[in-house]
Structures are given as C-alpha cells and as structure tokens.
C-alpha cells in the first residue's frame, strides 16, 4: 500500500485480514484477448463528431459583458457587500422540499403550486423539464444519480442567476454613485477587490462542493444498502449538505418557527451583521474605507432571506 495512512488506519500488512485478502489471485487474460478486442472494434460505429459548444449563457466570465460585470463586482466588496452579507440579502425564497422536487422531476401538479420565480435579470429560462421521470421514493442507484444530476443542473442555473443578479445590482449601484458624484472605488481598488470577491466565491464553492460530496456518498451508501429515500429527505439532505453542522442546526431550527418568530430572527441577524460590518471595515486601508463606508450606509437590499447563510443553502430551484 503506497499511502502511509493505509498502513496506519487501514489493513495492516501481515495481519489476519491482510492474509485473508491476499489470497485473491487473478487469472491471466486469455492469449487471444487482444485479437478478440480488435475483431470487435471492427463492428463499432464510427465515432460521432464532436458536440457543438453550448451557448455561452452558462459560461461565467466568458463574454465581455461578464467581464465588465465582474470588474464591477469588485465594487461589491468595495461596499463590503460580499463580506457583510449582501449575498444573503437577495430576495431568494426558500422553497419547500416538495416544490423543489416537483421542479426537478417535472411533476406538473406540484409545479403549478410553485411560487413564481423572481424575474431573472437576463431573462433566463427555468431549468428544462427532465427527459425521464423519477417516480416514488428513490430506491436505486440509477435514480439517485439521476436525481443528483438534475439537482446539479438546477443548482448551477440558480447559482448563475443569483450571481448575475448580484453583479447587476452592484453594477447599478456603482453607476448611480458615479452619476451622483458620490465616492466610488478607483480602478485599482476595483481590481483588488474583484480578485478578493472571486477568491471568496471560489473558496466557498469548493467548500460547499466538498461537503456535499461527502453527504452524497452517505446517501449513495444508504441506497446501496437497500434504503429508500423520499424526495423530502433527499432535498433536505442536499440543502443541508453544503452547510456547516451549526448552520445546519440553525436551518432546522428556523423551519420550526412561526413566521413572526422568523422575522424577528431575521431582524436580529441583520443587526449582528451590521456590527460585523463595522469590525471588518477596520481591516481596510483608509483609502479603501473612504469609498467603502458610504456604501455600507446605503439601504440594504431587502428581501426575505432567512438569517442564515442563504448563499450556502443553495437550493435547487
């Protein structure tokens, strides 16, 4: 075993288990194996031509518009937005697991009950209806993988849409400030902050992806062991899969609250966040702060986001 950790935590060399496993010998391939494969290759159809590249809608930063918006997104941090929760302030609804499931499986009856999505800035269409239906509880690996794939598709679309909306708001805000002669970040500040925003996003995405992969492995194992997963269970696991354990607990707790209690929690959360804004601003240079401070005094972008890291909840819509 080449990994040292295998020696430590795995199957000790020379141990009873090692001895038992080492008896698993593999017979040699038959001598005519290559001839058989080559003969079979003659019957294979010619390779298909390469697929055309998809539209650029899902390719971030691939167009001039994206790059421009990206540059201006630096202003998001210029206004300390990303660090202080503007991403969480967007009016993103938390749908019920059933609503999300119906959007994934294409169940029309359920879809009809879905709340209207907020208009996307780029007129993005909702995720296309799936080709095959997933019926009832998930009890096979194929169904589970299909569900993961659809969830990923929906999540990708949603993330693109959300980022596009964030970028657009930042763009508009900066434009307004410049028009009104208010302080705005310099090109250098924008550049620096743009990099920071991108790093922030990449790091966050990687972390979420890692957490989700672990959750999915557990789900795969449950299904492989014969367990059935209900749509509600799958969606809840998926939603919570990207969260830290404490955020996960908070999410569960929030679900149990009445609307009034939830609103109160949101208010308290915003207060705490404003406090954090102040603390973080102290880390900026005086020049940066001069352009940042005014922005943070702007009316926050209001919405019904819950007092959790709603960017992390990242539900597939």
């Amino acid at each position: 075993m080449s990994d040292p950790e295998n020696e430590q935590n795995g199957i000790a060399k020379g141990g009873a288990l090692d001895k038992a496993l080492s008896g698993y010998h593999v017979p040699a391939l038959s001598n005519d194996f290559a001839d058989r494969v080559v003969a079979r290759s003659k019957d294979r159809p010619e390779p298909l031509p390469s697929l055309r590249k998809g539209t650029s809608r899902n390719r971030r930063w691939s167009t001039a518009r994206r790059l421009t918006v990206g540059a201006l997104a630096a202003g998001a941090l210029a206004s300390a937005a990303a660090a202080t929760g503007v991403l969480g302030d967007l009016p993103i609804r938390l749908l019920s697991p059933e609503q999300i499931w119906s959007s994934i499986t294409g169940d029309e009856q359920e879809s009809a009950r879905r709340p209207q999505r907020l208009p996307a800035s780029d007129g993005a269409e909702a995720a296309e209806a799936p080709e095959t239906a997933i019926e009832g509880p998930i009890d096979s690996s194929q169904e589970l993988e299909e569900a993961f794939s659809r969830i990923d598709q929906a999540r990708g679309d949603r993330r693109e849409e959300r980022r596009s909306r964030v970028d657009q708001r930042i763009d508009e805000t900066l434009e307004q400030r410049r028009e009104q002669g208010l302080p705005a970040p310099t090109a250098e500040q924008e550049e620096r902050l743009r990099n920071r925003l991108e790093q922030f996003r990449e790091k966050r995405d990687a972390t979420l992806e890692e957490r989700r992969a672990t959750t999915r492995e557990e789900l795969r194992e449950r299904v492989e062991n014969g367990e059935e997963l209900t749509p509600r269970e799958l969606i809840r696991e998926e939603r919570a899969g990207g969260l830290r354990p404490e955020a996960r607990e908070r999410l569960e707790e929030l679900r149990e609250l009445s609307p009034e209690e939830r609103r109160e929690r949101i208010r308290q959360f915003r207060e705490r966040r404003q406090e954090r804004v102040g603390q973080r601003l102290r880390r900026f240079t005086p020049e940066e702060r001069s352009s940042i401070y005014d922005d943070t005094n702007d009316e926050p972008i209001n919405g019904a986001a819950p007092p959790i890291e709603s960017e992390q909840v990242d539900q597939p819509e």
Binding site: M1, S2, D3, E5, N6, N9, G10, I11, A12, G14, G15, A16, L17, D18, A20, L21, S22, G23, Y24, H25, V26, P27, A28, L29, S30, F33, A34, R36, V37, V38, R40, S41, R44, P47, S50, S140, S141, Q142, E209, E210, A213, T214, R216, E217, E218, R220, E221, E224, N225
Partner: protein
C-alpha cells in the same frame, strides 16, 4: 499486490501519440494499448466482479471505449498532456459498478456463485482456491463503491488521490468512503463463522 502491473510506463507525450494513432484507426497502436493496460484493467474488474467472465467482458468493453472515444480524448487532452491509465481505470471501475448494480437488481439475495474448477484437485490447488474464495467472499459483501475503493487502494496500491480520481470523487469523499469500506471489511472478516474475536488486523 500489483506485482503484475505493466512495467512499461510511458510519458504523457507518448500516450498522446498512441491515442492519436488509435483515433486514426491504427490497429497496431490499439494492440499496443491493450498490451500496456489490459492486464491492470482486468485485475480491477476481476476483483470487483469476482469472476473471469465478467472481468473479461468489462476489460474488453473498456478497451473498445478507448477505440470509440480516442478522437475526443485527443481533443480534450491536447493542452494538458494525455494520461491514458487514469482514464481507463475510471472507465473500468464505472463499468464494473454498473454491472454490479444491474446484477444486484436482478438477484437481490443471490449467493456468491461457486467458481467452476478446471484444475486438478491437488492439495495446494484446493488450498489456494479456498483462500481465494474467502477473500472473494469478503470483497463481494461490500457495496459496489466500497468494493472499488478497496480494490484500488489495497490490491492496486493506488494512493488515495489517484483512487479518488479513478472513481471521479473528491479526495475527502473518497477517504470517507474508504474508511467505511475498511470498517465494513473488518466487520465482515471478524464475523466470519469460526473466526476468533479480535483476530482481524
């Protein structure tokens, strides 16, 4: 465990050239690729499936996928340098997992089939066969993905990162899978009839 792994290690440039020739339907190049990689793929498939027939089929299908996909591999691998072995391992593992899942669906509680013995029943051969069957039984009790994780890390001695790549997983998720696989293997071993408690490593 992988003492019979291909000794011929080629650079990625050489691999790229080989795949380019396969894409151009060069039969000799295809035979070369089979000679280099089929043994490794067969070992993985055999230990995952537990029988020579399926292992043979999977190895053949994986090689034919190379034949089919060579043009696309060249397109994708041009910039970074093409490495054939990881791609083939991934295809083999996926094919084996698919086949195991289908088999499980068809006969949910089927016993592990006895292998047909074509060898003379000499004592040494019997002992060797029994050892092999015990190991095969242990491995075959694992769920498909756990089985793949054990085959790749224990038998093929791949580092976790490479094994994770072969299973198209990130390293954290793979480590979690491997941890569970080893635990399940150990449990299975300890629970074998006649096994003295604590006898496992």
């Amino acid at each position: 465990m992988s003492g019979d792994s291909p000794r011929h290690v080629s650079g990625s440039n050489e691999e790229t050239e080989l795949v380019r020739r396969i894409a151009a339907r060069d039969e000799e190049a295809f035979r070369d690729a089979i000679a280099r990689h089929a043994t490794l793929m067969h070992r993985i498939a055999y230990r995952m499936m537990g029988n020579a027939h399926d292992a043979d089929d999977i190895t053949q299908e994986a090689m034919l996928r190379l034949w089919d996909h060579a043009p696309r591999l060249i397109e994708k691998g041009r910039a970074a340098g093409l490495k054939l072995a990881p791609w083939l391992k991934r295809v083999t593992v996926n094919l084996a997992i698919d086949r195991l899942r289908v088999a499980k669906r068809l006969s949910a509680n089927a016993d592990i089939p006895e292998q047909v013995d074509h060898e003379p029943l000499a004592d040494a051969a019997i002992e060797r066969r029994e050892e092999g069957q015990a190991a095969r039984a242990l491995i075959s009790r694992l769920p498909e993905r756990q089985r793949a994780a054990i085959v790749l890390t224990y038998y093929e001695e791949l580092p976790n990162a490479e094994a994770a790549d072969a299973m198209d997983m990130n390293i954290k998720a793979f480590e979690s899978l491997l941890f569970r696989a080893r635990a399940a293997l150990r449990r299975g071993f300890e629970n074998e009839p006649g096994r003295v408690e604590g006898g496992a490593s």
